[in-house]
Amino acid sequence: MGQKYNYKKAIRLFLYGVAMLTMIILLVGILNIVFFIVGILALKNMDIDYIHGGDVIEALTLTENGYVLAEEMEQEFVEQDQWAMLLDASGQVIWSIRKPEEVQEFYTRTDIARMTRYYLKGYPVQLRVWEDQIMVVGLQKDTVWKYNLEFSISWMDFVKRIWWYYFLINIAWITVLAFFFTRRYTRKKEQARIEWIAGVSHDIRTPLSVVMGYADTLEHEEGLPEETRQQADMIRHQSMVMKELIADLNLTSQLEYSMQALRREKVRPAEIIRNIVVEFLNDSRQKQLELDVQIASDAESVCVKADRQLFMRMFRNLINNSLKHGGQNDTVRIQISMWKEKGKCRIRYADNGMGYSEEILHGLRNRKRGASGHDIHGLQIVKKIVLAHGGKIWFGNCEEGGSYCLTEFRVTKKGF
């Protein structure tokens, strides 16, 4: 399910891959055809074809001394190194030109039948019937390869019919290939990017621990002037902000490319909400924070399939966002309510702050990235988490001031 978020991107890459491969294959096909045609032309130029029997017959004239071939034709036979003979109705050679010696003078019907299909003593020949005579034109041995092809009509029909299927199978092949290629390609690229981000955030965390640790120490150092201690507190506080930003960055990259499928388990949102709220309330540094939780009695037992850590992160980000923007009269008042509606679990989060600006609302409602900024980042993650869980989310401003965020999740069957 974690892949859900990546569908669009994956599909785009996939289609791109299909298009690329189709083009490559088309190109190869076109090149093949070109080569084929060029090849045929080349073969034609090589002139291995027979002198046309009909032409020979036309060039023959019957004289008292028998048949005489026109001089140009005779010349042609020499030039092309071919030979010819004319058989009468009985199979006797009555005229010939350049006839090889091993070729006999008399042909039975079986001899004729054989040579029409194969070779005549190894010589490739072509026959042409003229009245009751047969003109045989022959080439030299080992110059032509010939083979008789015969197909049944039903087979040819079958071929015609399956032609389209063949075409479709090819398309399927291309698609499958494209799928594997794009997946490999994108996997590699995404993996590299996620690893890079993970690496960078890892490297930042250790030094940040030291910064936070010492800032905290200075803050609690009794001997230091109040102002210095406040400055230390500022360092610590800003380091915490950085910590959150790093975590967000890591999470965004992972959600974006969804390499890591969500670790979904059955969780009770009611419990998670209480847990997070108490975490904030118990933090002695949080002053002027009022958190009100209202969970409808029928929503208490509701279970959702979710990644626990991400679910907690979602609420943390919302609360942190409210704290950052402060509330009216310096008290941040947050209300979280949860109820069941049409079989879905709805959670409404609202604060009494100054509400979301038009810009932020626009950025949250649209997919375009332009409106990203420091403020919107944490909320974008909230949205991503909800969407990654197959939920719905709405952001808006309350009429009485402040902002709200409404989420809806599918409920899983109770397993308790």
Binding site: A198, S201, H202, R205, T206, P207, L208, S209, V210, V211, M212, G213, Y214, D216, T217, R236, S239, K243, A247, N250, L251, Q254, Q260, R263, R268, E271, R274, N275, V277, V278, L281, N282, D292, V293, Q294, I295, E300, S301, Q309, F416
Partner: protein, 241 residues
């Protein structure tokens, strides 16, 4: 043995981080801290010094913390808290069920680490905090957490005549009070209380919990319907102040 007497082995390759963590462990009165920069050193020190708790970085120059942890667990039951700088480790730490006692993600605040160290030591060795006593004092009432007995010391208004009463807590009431006392001053969610009392499969006991809380109040509060110590935090849980 008090909690600050336990020996802690810290394994991390970053020198500045080691110094800092040592520093605030000292300040939190843990004076028995030894450090190692890599797996080899850690193994050596572990054999020689047999610490009570290991703080272990996941990424070490000569191997990863996970395999070192498995090595250490082969011939001892030493509790381990992992220090991790990667979110990815979190999954492994949660998912593998390595048996690690806790983990903490960098960057962390000193108090966070101290809290976890103390919690693990308390759980594994039943160690006692210096301030923490076996007795929870709630005004005129004292609860002996060793025996689970509530001692009331009331002074009758007119004379100086004193009355002492003893009430015994049931196992469930004791578990509730223990959890609240451990987190004294902080809010404890209903869910955390249920978990403390019924362990696994604790869902569905919310109403029973309310009953136990009421009975507990009857035993420890002067006016159970207007509690002064065991307070309800509406919608969330309870707090012992």
């Amino acid at each position: 043995m008090y909690i600050n007497e336990y020996k802690i082995l810290l394994v991390d390759d970053e020198k500045t981080l080691r110094e800092m963590v040592c520093g605030f462990l000292h300040r939190a009165n843990f004076h028995n801290v030894i450090t190692a920069a890599d797996c080899r050193q850690a193994r050596e020190l572990f054999r020689k010094e047999t610490p009570h708790l290991v703080l272990l970085d996941v990424m070490l120059p000569d191997g990863d913390g996970f395999s070192l942890f498995e090595d250490l667990q082969k011939d001892s039951q030493v509790p381990v808290i992992f220090l991790s700088a990667r979110d990815e480790d979190e999954d492994r730490l949660r998912g593998l069920g390595l048996g690690a006692d806790d983990y903490i993600t960098k960057p962390f605040l000193p108090e966070e680490l101290i809290l976890r160290v103390k919690a693990v030591l308390k759980r594994v060795y039943r160690a006692k905090d210096v301030r923490e006593e076996d007795v929870v004092v709630l005004g005129a009432c004292r609860v002996d957490m060793g025996s689970g007995v509530v001692y009331w010391h009331r002074e009758e208004n007119s004379d100086t005549k004193e009355t002492d009463t003893e009430i015994t807590l049931t196992a469930k009431e004791y578990a509730v009070l223990q959890k609240l006392a451990q987190e004294r001053g902080r809010i404890v969610t209903i869910d955390a209380l249920c978990e403390a009392v019924w362990q696994e499969e604790n869902y569905g006991y919310e109403n029973t919990l309310i009953v136990h809380i009421r009975r507990l109040r009857e035993k420890i509060e002067e006016d159970p319907s207007h509690p002064k110590y065991l307070l309800t935090v509406r919608g969330l849980g309870y707090r012992l102040i």
